[in-house]
Each structure stands twice: as structure tokens, then as C-alpha cells.
Amino acid sequence: MSDRRKAQNFIEAARGGAPVEGSGAELAVLLGTVQLLRESAPAPAKPTEAFSSRLRADLLSRYGELTAGKPVAPARKRAVRWAWVAAPALAAAAALVLILVLGVFRTPPPPAVAVLEMSQGKATVVDADGKSRVVEDTSDIALDETIDVDSKSRAVLTFTDDNIARMEAGTSARVDGYEEGSITLELDRGKVYNRVIKNTRYRVIHSGVTTSARGTAFDVEVQGSGETINVFEGAVHVSWTGARPLEVGQGSQAVVTRAGGGVEAQVKPIDLATLDFSWLAYNRDLDRKAGFPLGILENLAPTPPQGVQPPALVIPPPEQTAPTTPQGTTPVDTQPTTTPTTQPTTPVSRPSASVSLASSGPPVVISWGGANVESADSVVVFRSPGGQLAVYKPGQADSFSDGNVEGGATYSYWVEYIAGGQTLAKSNAVTVTVPAPEPPPPPPPDLSVSLDGSASASSMSLKWGSSGGPLPDTWMVLRSEGAPPSYPGSVYAEVGGGSAGGSFTDYKVDGSRKYIYKVAALVRGEVIAYSNAVYYP
């Protein structure tokens, strides 16, 4: 059952409706929690009769005066939804004038095709008009919106038809198409794990290569100018212009590369030990929780007690190409990376252990094996610097993914099999230098904002322009009394960005009071410049 279905099921049950079959223990816990909350909350306070009557009489006596004012919606940071209502031409023209005067033009929001939910961290969503918003919890997603997942973050996109796309840190993807029975995701960088749970034509496209599936679990990872498609359950077709679709079945991997102007793909079996354990374990655990078939992910080692974390990445700005696969990092130890375990060089009868490097990261992935270590009661993973990283029971795991590494740093890893508190076998050490992150882009030039104000008895008209820096995607009008206004505490109104200036008229002024105005320029939710202050009156 998808999380969205679970949410609806739970809320229906809390309202007194009957839960669907197979709801399980989680629903019982949630309903118990609601019951506790309702029993614990104090009864709502009641207004006194005197206050109620006095306020009622006051409002009714001023009904005509209060309703005669201009309709004004509460000014908040979030966009206000306006619904277009069919109206006589004069009223429509008056509404249009009001909208232009306010400097705001809003159309009804497009319908949602999915819900984005952050498993960890945050993402930035950019709509078709270039307006962005930061999501730290949940957000509806419409067609043509682009989702950029931050470093150390992971997100789950659940479509309204219950198909699922999970996005790793650093991923940028756009919902390119959505209609009944058909979903298309355009993947710019990163990786997305797709759980196609219905008879839907589900496609993920990167640079002209399309992976399409019906009823499967697969992920697509952008690597340099190519991509790797891993099929964990079911089957997919990989195709590009001029080529016959290539079927990739369960347990197989298609590595797509571009050379000499052409596209090539090689299909081979998946070696789980060479993939990012943290990412696979995250998706395996969510799929297991939802009751989906796991395919080859059944063979994945258990998630360590401390859990798994998304990687910390330096994410390039959207106009740059996707980061290339790290080059030039050679482990000092000569253990071959294609074989997770190696034969010990010591005589067979003595306990021995070996470790090899599966990925230089980030994250760094090592795998290990042992011989004649049946008497061991634990396997300990070490790192220098760092010390003890993990402890497993023998057979519980044979690989470890270390995401807690810094680019450019050098680490050594080894394992020890322990029996009765003593080291039974200690492996070789593998040393790896984690690729350094790409240097951040130079900061954009400073934006300069100039604000003018014109006061009247009933309003304050503001007009501003800017130069020298990037175009803000949002302008915030700030107002305060006394101390100078600042963001976000003094937000008074939001004006759409994408232009070097704007205007706003404040009709809610009291001639007996003094106000201070500024405007703030925002890019991706962060202030990049403030204007000068202007004063009313």
C-alpha cells in the first residue's frame, strides 16, 4: 500500500470509518495516538456571553462600512490561490486593473500529478514559469515542474496513480508527461529508483535514451554523459532513436555510453556488491515496508543498526553538465575490485580475512570475506582515521558503505573477525583517496536594488528596480513600524520575480502611524539583496 493510500485509510479510520483489510499494526498505533491526543487535550475554552454579544453587535453595526472596503487577502509568504470566476466584463476589467496595480498576476495552479515527500533534507521545486519553492516536508507537484534534491537529502515522488519515483541526493528530474496510463520523467542528473506498480507506461528519459517499464522496480543513474539502468524486479526496455528496444530483465544492468556521436549499451548481470549499498538498502527497506516484491534486492545485506544516510554532495548548478564519474583514484592495495573476496595467501587451515574496495566513493564501499573463521562471534569494520565503524554478526553482512567521508581525504579500511574478545583474523587494509568535490562556482555579482515610494492619505505606492546581479525569482515587500524591516519577520507581501523590478501599492495604511518599507530580492528562498528604506508618510 502506498503512503498516500495509508494516509487516506488512516484518516478515514480516525473519523470513524472502517479501515481497509490488511491495515495492520501501524494503523492501530496511529489510532491509539489520536485517541491519546484527544483525551489529553484540554476542552476548548468558551467565550463569555458578554464578549460574544458585544462583538456581534459591533460587527453588525459596522457591516456596511467593513464590507465596503477593497477585498484584500491576508498577505503571507506563500502564494495565494486566486480562482478565476466568470464575471461581467466590467467586473473582470476592474479585477484585471487591480491585479496589474498590485503587480501580481496569478493564474489558478495547475492540477497536481504527484505528491513530493522528503525522506530526509530538502528539495527545490521549480515550476514551468521558473518560480521556485523549497520543500522540507511535502508538496504537490504539477506537470513540467523540476525537482532538485539537495545534498544529504532523499525524496519520494508518489504519483496520483500510486506509481513511485525515489530520488537520491543531487538528483534533478522533471515530470515531463502525465496522463492516464502514462508517466514520463526527464532525468537531468543523479539517480531515481522507480517502482511501477500499475499497468502504466512508465518512462525515464536521459539525453535521448528512454527506459520504459510496466510493473517493475528499476533505477536509472546518470554517469557522465551516459547512464546505468539496474533492474531489480521485472523487466524494462531501453531505447534511443534509430535503435531497436533492448530488453533488460530482472537482475541485469544496462550500461549506456556515448562515443563517436553514437550510443552503445552493454547488458550484464548486476553485482550488488559494486552498487551503492546505502541507496539500495534505503529503497529495499521502503519497498519491503510497502509490501512490494523485492526481486534481487532480497539478496542485499541487512541495513546496519545505525541506518543508512544519503550522501553529502557538492551539487552543480543546473546549467552545468552532470558531474563526471570520479577519475584517477587508485586504491593503494592491489586487491581486484571485481572480486568481493580473495583467497588468503596463508595456509588454508589458519583463520584469515581479506577486504577489497568496491567503490572509491563517495560513499566508499568495501567488501570482505574470511576463511576458517567459523568460531568468530563478530566482524568489526575499522577505518583510519575514524576507528570502529560497524560491528556485525558473522554472515550478517559482507560489505559496508561509508558515506561519512570527505572529498580529497585518504582513508584505510580493514576488518577483524573476533572470537571471545580476541582477534581471530585481521584482514589486509585497503587505502583510498576519496575524489575531491568540484570547486563551487564563483558567486554571482552583487545585485543592487533601488526603492522609491509615493505616499498619499490612503496608500503607499512602491516602485523598485535593480541592476548588476541575477534576476530574483521572488520579490518580498517588507513593512515594519519602529525597527527597520527584515526578512522573514517583516514580510508584508510577495511579488512574483523573474524581472529586474516591480511595483506594489499598500492600501492598508493608517495615516496616524509611521511605516518603514524595503524590498528583498530572493533566489531559491534566500535573500540576495535588500533595497534602501522608504518611509510613510
Binding site: F10, A25, T67
Partner: protein, 195 residues
């Protein structure tokens, strides 16, 4: 004046449209929703004078803006949106910290309500843990389970959509359940037997 019986959505929509030009229709809405709004504001600010002041502002703002309210919008959800914004404006202008529901529960623990100590302690503990949740989770739980807003009304109150509000309430309840469990408070035995 009572507001203990829910108003049918069709009745609410009809009165809302009429109230744009008819003071009597507005009076009916006021009679029904003012105690609800007052109770919510009081839960947030825990001060009678401030609650009365904010409630007055909420209905004044509602009257000023009612002609701009789009057809089909939830009047109750819209009132809660105005109330939430007005409370935030109040705290910003006064530079005050929001009080917590722990305060009133604390009065109960001090014996002012005369409840049994063990029952009061548990209720105090539960409400204090609610206060420790992130603001978004706390708001979702209070609005839906304590103030009784439907999902559609919540969407209006929070400038969100019904889909997103389903997930907000679900995640908030899961988070609260975890917090309660971590603090040794559970009440699932009745529901396990029924499940």
C-alpha cells in the same frame, strides 16, 4: 449561541455567499463559528484578553475580505487561515514567545482542576510532548484532530492542497506516535484488540 453541531457544507456555502451582501447571513455564520475560532485562538495564546482581541480582529478581517472570497471556498478553513495569520502577526508585533498547551495542563497538574494526579500527569506529559513537535506537525494534529477541520478545510486554512494535507496529518501522527513511544506513553492495547 452554540456551535456544537457541525454545519452542513451546503448550508455553509449558501450562507457564505449570502453573507457577502446580507448581514443576517453573516450573523448566522458568526454565531456558529465564533466559539470555534475563539477556542482555537485561546488554545494558541492561553490568555483571555488576547484571545478576545484576536478573535475580534479575525471577524473584522473576515468581513472586510468576504466579498473577495472565491465561490466554493471553505468559510471555516478560511477563518482558521485568518486566525493563524493574526496570531503570528500578534506575536511578531509584541515580540512575545508563543505559550504552550503545557501551561493549562500544568494548572491541572497543580490540582486546580481537581483531577486525579495520575491521569493529570499523563495528560500533561502527552501535551508537553505535543509542544515539542515541529510547528508543522503540531499544527496539522491540532487543526485536524482537536479543532475538527476536515482535510478540505485544512487545505484552505494552510494554503495547501488536500493531497498534501493527507500526508501532513499522516506524517505528523507517525512522528507523534514515535515521540510518545520513546517517552514510554502508549495506548494501543484497545486498538490492537479491535484490529
Amino acid at each position: 449561541m452554540t456551535a456544537s453541531v457541525s454545519m452542513e457544507p451546503e448550508e455553509e456555502a449558501r450562507l457564505t455567499e449570502q453573507a457577502k451582501t446580507d448581514p443576517e447571513a453573516f450573523a448566522e455564520l458568526y454565531d456558529h463559528f465564533m466559539p470555534v475560532v475563539y477556542g482555537y485562538v485561546m488554545r494558541r495564546v492561553m490568555n483571555k484578553e488576547i484571545a478576545e482581541d484576536i478573535t475580534s480582529q479575525v471577524f473584522e478581517k473576515a468581513l472586510k475580505s468576504i466579498r473577495g472570497l472565491r465561490a466554493g471556498a471553505s468559510f471555516k478553513g478560511w477563518l482558521f487561515k485568518i486566525a493563524g495569520n493574526t496570531i503570528i502577526d500578534h506575536y511578531r508585533s509584541k515580540g512575545r514567545q508563543q505559550t504552550s498547551s503545557l501551561d493549562e495542563a500544568g494548572d491541572m497538574a497543580n490540582g486546580k482542576s481537581g483531577k486525579a494526579v495520575e491521569q493529570v500527569d499523563n495528560r500533561v506529559a502527552v501535551m508537553s510532548l505535543l509542544d515539542k513537535l515541529p510547528e508543522g506537525h503540531r499544527t496539522a494534529l491540532v487543526l485536524h484532530f482537536l479543532e475538527g477541520l476536515t482535510i478540505d478545510e485544512m487545505a484552505e486554512a494552510l494554503d495547501s492542497t488536500p493531497n498534501a494535507c493527507y500526508m501532513k496529518v499522516y506524517r505528523a501522527t507517525k512522528a507523534f506516535a514515535e515521540v510518545l513511544e520513546q517517552n514510554g506513553i502508549t495506548r494501543i492495547d484497545d486498538y490492537v484488540r479491535q484490529a
